[in-house]
């Protein structure tokens, strides 16, 4: 039982970061109906930014993730204006090609600039652990969980409590009617794309101390982000938050009972199960 609870806790700790990744993707999908195949690549950019700040300026990743998030926000807005907006009204296929192309360029640029070498941000905190009775928590995971929780709740409040958030939801509900209500769709879409990428960047920065960094590190996370968004119900931001936590716990429990080699397989098992049994997602409501 202790083992089970411990696995759940470890799962929640990493799940909060998955939630950030999933929420970013859900935000972009909800408001723009664009499936961002470059999500993991942008996460990788966030990781490199955080790592560079750590490596060159000795800035702790738990502060470095903030400039990385800001950078990704700016990059996101730029990418939206230059590349996404012109094809906004084109077919889904064009959008898939565009985002996949962006991902390839980002990964290869990283490889050209930094090589295919693995990097690790060795900080003191990663080898500290906190004990609560029979349970152990890695100090770094605890910090990243707390930061992630703030951002998860922050986005939630932003979307449900502010006027911009209301506009965002209006576009998600009906993109044709929203402009008739005086909403500037271009501006809001640009904002949500930028915000979605900022969340990928923040997640990347927070993942850095626990992970190794290399140019194609994001690939797995693009896939994970899809699984999370599907679990939570396509485009539902609160659903993606829960989907991320569920995925984290599912991986951790699988790892404990079946072995580490099955942990990645469970992602796709969940994906297939949800798509075939409840395509609207476990927490999703059916959308028109």
């Amino acid at each position: 039982m202790v083992g089970f609870l411990q696995a759940c806790m470890d799962g929640l700790l990493i799940g909060a970061l998955y939630a950030l990744i999933g929420m970013g993707l859900a935000l972009i999908f909800g408001v723009m109906r664009i499936v961002n195949f470059a999500h993991g690549a942008f996460l990788m950019v966030g990781m490199y930014a955080t790592w560079l700040l750590f490596d060159r300026l000795n800035l702790n990743p738990y502060f470095g993730f903030m400039p990385a998030g800001v950078l990704l926000f700016a990059l996101g807005y730029l990418v939206y204006k230059l590349l996404i907006q012109p094809i906004r009204e084109r077919s889904d296929f064009m959008q898939i090609l565009m985002t996949t192309g962006i991902a390839l360029i980002l990964v290869d640029t990283a490889q050209l600039s930094f090589g295919a070498d693995y990097h690790q941000a060795n900080i003191e905190l990663v080898s500290r652990s906190l004990h609560f009775g029979p349970f152990v928590m890695n100090a770094a995971s605890g910090v990243s969980f707390a930061i992630a929780a703030v951002f998860i709740i922050g986005l939630q409040l932003y979307v449900f409590r502010t006027r911009t958030g209301q506009a965002l939801r209006a576009i998600a509900q009906n993109r044709d009617v929203a402009p008739l209500m005086g909403i500037n769709v271009t501006r809001i879409q640009g904002l949500s794309f930028a915000l979605g990428l900022a969340y990928a960047g923040i997640a990347g920065g927070l993942l850095l101390p626990a992970l190794y960094l290399f140019p194609s590190v994001g690939d797995d996370y693009t896939l994970k982000a899809f699984v999370i968004v599907v679990l939570g119900g396509m485009g539902s931001i609160e659903g993606a938050a829960i989907g991320g936590l569920v995925l984290g716990v599912a991986e951790s429990i699988t790892s404990l009972y079946l072995g580490n080699q099955w942990a990645l397989a469970v992602d796709f098992l969940l994906f297939i199960l949800v798509l075939s049994l409840k395509p609207s997602g476990i927490f999703g409501r059916q959308r028109a």
């Binding site: 083992g3 411990q6 696995a7 470890d10 990493i14 090589g115 295919a116 070498d117 693995y118 690790q120 060795n122 990663v126 080898s127 652990s129 152990v136 890695n138 626990a210 992970l211 190794y212 290399f214 797995d220 951790s252 790892s255 404990l256 072995g259 580490n260 080699q261 942990a263 990645l264």
Partner: protein, 397 residues
């Protein structure tokens, strides 16, 4: 029409003309090296490269090979087997190297065995420990390092003489290196009456091993045997401390646990303390030339070498010897010269290949003590006594 066929004719002729001409005209001898300069195994690729370069300088300082300057043609396989395979074609078909050295990992080496055999070019393997790289019985394949079965054998000898533990858990990464070493150890342990209570495979890309280590902890084995590369070795030790896993023996199949970085702050730091691992060579080894190699390597890199660098160094030295003995750059003649090579004493010990192409190399056991690798077995090579059991994490400072 006539013009077109003329162009085709000229290109075909020049193509054929260029092949035999390329080697003879040069004043250099080119040997191809496939290794992992970048990617997950870059730390070992870097060690390889520097080992080769030390040997290259020595050989050229002594007048090169067959009176010609020796040149190395490096191909970076990016730690990926498909790239290693491409490297064979690139080095042999385009660059016309006379023989090949490499790759670094067992996975990538296994991948190039068939392409090498098909190209009829000799390959000398410096570091791949999975024994299946020698399975093909190809006459073109030679290996200078000891393999997984030799590792398992020396571990069993060591454990029998040092407390005779009863149970073992094997934790291994899921490519050729990890799987082959797990198999070899599993068989050897069972034959010696050690009960293997857990076999845990892991994906080196998913760096959360806590669940794996907790599963091992539940089985409470006397010995844990890791088959790991460097980044996973570092993380495994950090997380072993976190989950408070306390076997009496932390043991490993070399590689990550024997890398020069592992006991330093760049690696596992103080979590590396008391880990036992196999080694094929250390700077302190008694073979003549070891100290000189250590000094030359240190001059070049500012760090001391681990055995991977030495194996690269000795592979190139052996290749140079063989080509000099062959007195020819013909692939079959070089192959036969490697087959007949008999170096009584090198910095890596004696080098002589048996009928299968395997060099019989002794294996040492080391322990990290005070942030340094010390040889603890066999007794005639030891410079320290093993500390057993490894102190519990709660009792370490």
């Amino acid at each position: 029409m006539r013009f077109k066929s003329l162009v085709v004719l000229i290109s075909v002729v020049s193509l054929f003309a260029s092949i035999p001409g390329a080697r003879a005209a040069d004043n250099t001898v080119k040997i191809g090296v496939i290794t992992s300069i970048t990617g997950s195994q870059a730390a070992f690729g870097e060690a390889h490269k520097n080992g080769y370069l030390v040997a290259l300088d020595e050989i050229n300082a002594k007048g090169g090979i067959l009176g010609k300057k020796l040149e190395l043609d490096f191909y970076d396989d990016q730690s990926r087997p498909d790239q290693a395979v491409q490297g064979v074609s690139k080095l042999v078909d385009q660059d016309h190297v006379v023989m090949l050295l490499g790759a670094y990992s067992s996975e990538n080496t296994k991948a190039i065995i068939n392409p090498v055999t098909m190209h009829h070019i000799p390959l000398l393997i410096p570091t791949a420990t999975a024994d299946n790289v020698m399975d093909s019985k190809s006459p073109w394949i030679f290996r200078i390092c000891a393999g997984a079965a030799a590792y398992a054998k020396v571990w069993i000898d060591f454990l029998k003489k040092n407390g005779a533990p009863k149970t073992m858990a094997i934790v291994y990464e899921k490519t050729n290196f990890g799987q082959a070493n797990m198999q070899a150890m599993k068989q050897a342990a069972q034959a010696a009456g050690i009960n293997v209570v857990a076999l845990e495979e892991y994906e080196a890309k998913a760096p959360d091993y806590r669940a794996v280590l907790r599963r091992v902890k539940e089985k409470n084995p006397d010995v844990i045997y890791f088959c790991s590369y460097l980044l996973d070795a570092t993380t495994l030790m950090r997380q072993s401390q976190e989950v408070d896993l306390n076997p009496r023996y932390y043991t490993a199949a070399g590689t990550g646990f024997s890398a020069a970085e592992f006991p330093t702050a760049k690696g596992a730091g103080k979590n590396a303390e008391y880990t036992l691992s196999v080694s094929q060579w250390l700077p302190e080894a008694s073979w003549p030339g070891s100290k000189e190699f250590d000094a030359a390597y240190f001059k070049r890199t500012g760090t001391h070498p681990a055995y991977h660098a030495m194996q690269a160094y000795q592979s190139l030295q052996t290749a140079a010897h063989a080509i000099n003995n062959a007195k020819s750059l013909d692939a079959a003649k070089i192959r036969d010269a490697i087959k007949n090579i008999n170096l009584k004493m090198t910095p890596f010990g004696p080098v002589k290949f048996d009928a299968t192409g395997q060099n019989q190399h002794p294996v040492l056991i080391t322990q990290v003590q005070g942030g340094k690798y010390r040889v603890v077995f066999p007794a005639d090579a030891a410079d320290a006594k093993p500390i057993i059991p490894a102190p519990k994490w709660s009792e370490r400072h």
